[in-house]
């Protein structure tokens, strides 16, 4: 109690004038000090305060993967500031990216990245990486005002043609192979980039040059407000508040789900097994698509060459959404990769199926039926029985899982260091990525990844 009283008295004491203490020590004769003298010196020592009671946790963004495209947003990786330094090809471990605002949503495309914040400031979206098809909008070059940049090396603001720029908020961004979608809360969806297959939701113009294009198209005609946008490789999916799904873009693998294999240039509603079903989440990255309903069922359409939909059909292209009758429990979230798919159930179990490195060791290469990944690989044990997987994400050939403790696990093909483990080898079962912060969200791309984290204290 005496010690506690002493701490209370010294609480919050800023650094006092150290001069008096110093003079006292210099004046004192040297020699062994008694216990009482030591205790008095200790009590008189100044107390430092590094963090107050109201200290907030800071939001951070970490990037890792292939650097040459500029998708990581660190210019010194591509063009080093000193002449003798060599450009860095791969960033193998998470690297902190300084951003001006708190980033609420991030998306990785094929060689480019979009970051967005839900602020009401004028600048809401930043982009970096490849811009050969204007997937990052028009980035005016500083050397020549008429030309635009082909590669953007640091997060540059993307000007959006908003009617009310100081009221509208950007909710979510999504990136495909050469196009991007930006979802706002009151002004619909903005699309930019390559439109050779109608994936931007506007009519295909023959011989259109997409590079250095100023065109940003706005989509507003849906049956209700759009709440999620997802980009596949060359197609786009829109999920509305009512639970309906719209699609446009390339359809040769049936990924638009509209019943034909042609291009669609206007967002059209999907029917099939999801007609009348309230869909709560859609996912796609390659040519296969998955949708989760509010009752925990999962529906799939698109490419099935890698056994993604082989549980319901033998055909390799499915152009109408089909219900996948898996008996693994109520499904909460699904994610589609290039060749493999992953779902998360309500109990917190992770199931994978498809082709490639699925996460159950080198022996499991392909399966049409979902296989569960044991929870002990995600940190669950008798010592920590409350660890659960909270989210799952997919890149083109890698998977990521976030636990409720804020840990990030990755597995799959380690293409150009995209896993972030620090090694260049493929990872056959879930492996922790050491991120200096509690990971809140992660976006996976082809050869790079972006994660949003909060600092620990």
């Amino acid at each position: 109690p005496e010690a506690a009283e002493m701490w209370r008295a010294l609480r919050g004491a800023r650094r006092p004038a150290a001069a008096t203490a110093l003079r006292r020590d210099l004046g004192r004769a040297a020699g062994p000090r008694s216990v009482r003298q030591l205790r008095e010196a200790e009590e008189a020592a100044p107390v430092f305060q590094y963090a107050g009671k109201a200290a907030k946790r800071k939001d951070r963004v970490f990037v890792w993967g292939f650097c040459y495209s500029g998708a990581l947003g660190v210019p010194s990786f591509v063009k080093p500031d000193a002449g003798w330094k060599k450009p860095r090809r791969i960033q193998p471990t998470p690297y902190r990216l300084e951003t001006e605002e708190k980033i609420s949503s991030a998306a990785c495309g094929y060689g480019f990245t979009l970051l967005s914040s839900n602020t009401t400031d004028i600048t809401k979206v930043w982009g970096m990486g490849l811009n050969k098809d204007s997937q990052l909008g028009f980035q005016r070059s500083r050397r020549d005002r008429t030309k635009g940049y082909e590669y953007v090396l640091e997060p540059s603001p993307i000007p959006l043609p908003l009617e009310k720029p100081q009221q509208t908020r950007v909710l979510q961004v999504s990136c495909g192979r050469a196009h991007s979608l930006i979802l706002t809360d009151s002004e619909g969806v903005f699309t930019m980039g390559n439109n050779s297959y109608g994936q931007c939701g506007r009519k295909v113009v023959e011989d259109e040059t997409y590079s250095e294009s100023h065109l940003i198209h706005q989509l507003k005609e849906f049956d209700s407000r759009v709440v999620q946008v997802v980009c596949g490789q060359d197609h786009s999916l829109f999920r509305t508040k009512k639970g309906t799904v719209y699609a446009c873009g390339w359809g040769a693998d049936g990924q638009t789900g509209l019943g034909h294999y042609n291009i669609t240039s206007v967002p059209t509603k999907l029917h099939g097994d999801i007609a009348g079903v309230n869909i709560i989440q859609v996912s796609s990255y390659g040519d296969c698509c998955l949708a989760v309903s509010d009752e925990g069922d999962v529906f799939g359409w698109g490419n099935s060459e890698y056994l993604q939909l082989a549980s319901v059909t033998e055909t390799t292209q499915v152009n109408v959404p089909r219900h996948l009758p898996f008996k693994i429990g109520k499904i909460k979230e699904a994610a589609c990769g290039g060749t493999g798919n992953v779902v998360l159930t309500e109990e917190g179990n992770v199931f994978v199926w498809g082709y490639g490195i699925l996460g159950k060791g080198p022996n499991l290469i392909e399966t049409a039926v979902p296989e569960m990944i044991p929870p002990s690989l995600f940190g669950w044990s008798d010592f920590n029985p409350d660890v659960r997987v909270a989210h799952v994400r997919c890149g083109l050939s890698q998977f990521a899982a976030l636990t409720n403790r804020g840990e990030l696990f990755v597995w799959g093909k380690n293409l150009r260091g995209c896993l972030g483990t620090g090694r260049m080898e493929d990872q056959y079962f879930p492996w922790r990525v050491t991120v200096p912060g509690e990971v809140v969200d992660v976006a996976c791309g082809v050869d790079h990844m972006v994660s949003m984290a909060k600092s620990f204290t």
């Binding site: 080898e425 079962f429 492996w431």
Partner: protein, 261 residues
Amino acid sequence: LNAAPRRPPRQHVRFLPVPSGGDGGTTGLVATRVPVLADHPLVRGPQFRRLKIGAGHRLDVKASGVFVLGMGHGNKLLTDLYNCHLTKVYTVGGLFGKATDDFSDTGKLVEKTTFDHITREKLERILAVIQGTNHKALLMYSNIDMKTQEAYELAVKGLIRPMGKSPPIITAIRCLQFTLPEFQLEIHCLHETQQYLRKMVHEIGLELKSSAVCTQVRRIRDGVFTLEDALLRTQWNLQSVQKAMWDCQLKVKAELEKTLG
């Protein structure tokens, strides 16, 4: 030990002259069993002069708890137990607000800081991160090729651990008590030293933007030996030692068979 009854001395047959009467007649020899003089206690001296006692894992001066000793032939079991690489469990007590040079509360004061911003939730978050990075180190130092199916199976069961030299690794850590400024942690670790645990307490303090010193390090389990098997200072007598050795024989044998095969 020396006061215990000894083995009876060996007997041998000697032909001794019979003590005859006064007049020197025929001195006969009679065969008699007599004890060998070389076995006489005054000739041999005390039975035990030295005992070979070996120590198990080190425990330094400022720490307390279970300390395993091997006697005589048991020293060979000590090396086998070391090669099993079993985890040890410690309760570590810490105090926020101070930083000293040797990380314990008896050292020279380096800095004092405030700690009223620390909550149990923040501490548990830091502990979760420590556990995560140490789990990763556990898999890395076990020197198993991660690309094989057996590595995957061992990882699922949680049986991967380094079976050779490795830096200290913490396999599990959790907070038992938290009343500012004191806190108590339970740490399960491998290949550690007590000073490493004190340094860990100091680093937890730094991570929480304050400072901490370690007040107590107590080993509560060393492989198969727990606090119940340990002998108190008042129990350091022959009977308790013998009973303790007898009780843990079976446990040690079972553990060695399970781990080393």
